[in-house]
């Protein structure tokens, strides 16, 4: 998909990818990292998280980096792929550009003519 035609990313996908920027994490660690990154604003439900991870894995934005057994249960670690990092960066740039439109001083905004 070309950069210009890429649809805006959903908030859960954005925070899941952002949580994986610093290295592989398991499910609950992703939820905690997303909560920290969003300043406590964004709480991912476990059901939502694994739906998002399945979809991101299908798009090859994340991959399973390893597996361990904790308390008798399998725990997978997810890692960001190059494609995932690129998609995350594209989304961050898109949002920064959108924010700039609002944050610019009124005199610097193109097409705005204060009365």
């Amino acid at each position: 998909m070309s950069q210009s035609s890429r649809a805006p990313m959903s908030e859960p996908s954005y925070f899941v990818l952002a949580a994986l920027m610093n290295g592989p994490l398991h499910g609950y660690a992703i939820i905690k990292a997303a909560l920290d990154l969003s300043g406590g604003r964004f709480t991912l439900a476990v059901g939502t998280l694994y739906s998002v991870l399945d979809r991101l894995a299908r798009e090859e934005y994340v991959t399973v980096a390893g597996e361990e057994i904790v308390n008798g249960r399998a725990r997978r670690y997810f890692a960001l792929t190059d494609a995932g990092r690129s998609a995350l960066q594209y989304e961050a740039d898109r949002m920064a550009q959108a924010a700039r439109v609002v944050n610019l001083p009124a005199t610097e905004r193109i097409g705005v003519n204060p009365a």
Partner: protein, 299 residues
């Protein structure tokens, strides 16, 4: 009570909620989900968090439907399959109603009407078409849909569906044919569940309602169809495809009326408020289903 008592109760309840997921998914990832759920639970909690429970059940049902795994193209394909199935079922019920009417006439008058053979052949072809759509044979379905339109038309003394009743089964088969041809090739992952097919079949039976008012366009139980549409809206967060299939069931009377207007341009007075309402509902439902599908397929 010892401190380790709450954890098993909570775990048991989470395991119960995890049953919303398909068995294969649960077998592969159930323990992992449970691990994350237990790690995130409030210490000492005995009952799952409400928000967490809702998200879990919704995600599980979506996984069960295969909605999560499919691209927008596959979603369209499955909507088209289900819609073609509903429309063909509708046409078959209409023809069955006509046969029922002919048999009652035979009982009363002791003589079969001349179009009885045409009705039986049409019902046979539509049954085969329905079977092909259920089995997923795309080419067979397309060939049977062509035959279901052409053969009865050739058998018809007028050479063309000449009444609203005739075109009411004729038009949906044409639309089913178009959907079968236009849908992207390839089968969607997961298949369409038997429950979903049964639900759409029930809505189809209610929409055609041949035991209520055989052969009357205005007598169709629109109320039941609106109820089915309302139910499909409620389930749209899990799977928006039934909304498309049920909305398509609003179309046959509109298509039949359009066909009659084309054949007899002077009969424009048949376009009443009910037809406008049907068209408006179809457009609204398609827009709604497309919007939900886009949201579900979004990365």
């Amino acid at each position: 009570m010892s401190s380790d008592v709450p954890a098993p109760a909570l775990e048991r309840r989470y395991r119960l909620l995890l049953r919303a997921y398909p068995p294969a998914y649960r077998h592969g990832h159930g323990d992992e989900l449970l691990d994350a759920l237990m790690a995130g639970s409030t210490p000492g909690a005995r009952r799952p968090d409400l928000r967490e429970s809702c998200a879990l059940v919704l995600a599980g049902l979506r996984a069960r439907r295969g909605v999560i795994d499919e691209s927008s193209g596959a979603g369209y394909r499955r909507s088209a399959d289900l819609t073609a199935l509903a429309l063909t079922g509708y046409a078959l019920i209409i023809v069955a109603g006509q046969i029922h009417g002919s048999l009652r006439y035979w009982q009363r008058a002791g003589d079969l009407q001349p179009w009885f053979a045409q009705e039986v052949v049409t019902a046979g072809l539509l049954s085969l078409l329905l079977g092909a759509l259920v089995m997923g044979g795309r080419r067979t379905a397309a060939a049977l849909a062509v035959a279901a339109v052409i053969v009865p038309t050739l058998m018809n003394a007028h050479g063309f569906p000449d009444s609203v009743d005739d075109s009411e089964w004729w038009a949906p088969v044409l639309v089913a044919l178009l959907l079968t041809f236009l849908a992207p090739p390839g089968r969607a992952a997961g298949g369409t569940s038997a429950g979903l097919r049964l639900s759409v079949a029930a809505a189809t039976a209610l929409a055609a309602g041949w035991w209520v008012a055989v052969g009357s366009v205005t007598g169709r139980p629109l109320f039941f169809l609106l109820v089915a549409l309302g139910l499909s809206y409620l389930g749209a967060a899990v799977d928006p495809r039934p909304v498309v299939a049920v909305a398509a069931l609003l179309l046959p009377p509109v298509l039949a009326t359009a066909g009659q207007t084309l054949l007899h341009p002077s009969a424009v007075d048949v376009w009443g408020p009910q037809m406008a309402l049907r068209l408006l509902l179809v457009v609204t439902c398609l827009g709604f289903a497309a919007s939900i599908s886009r949201r579900l397929c979004r990365i």
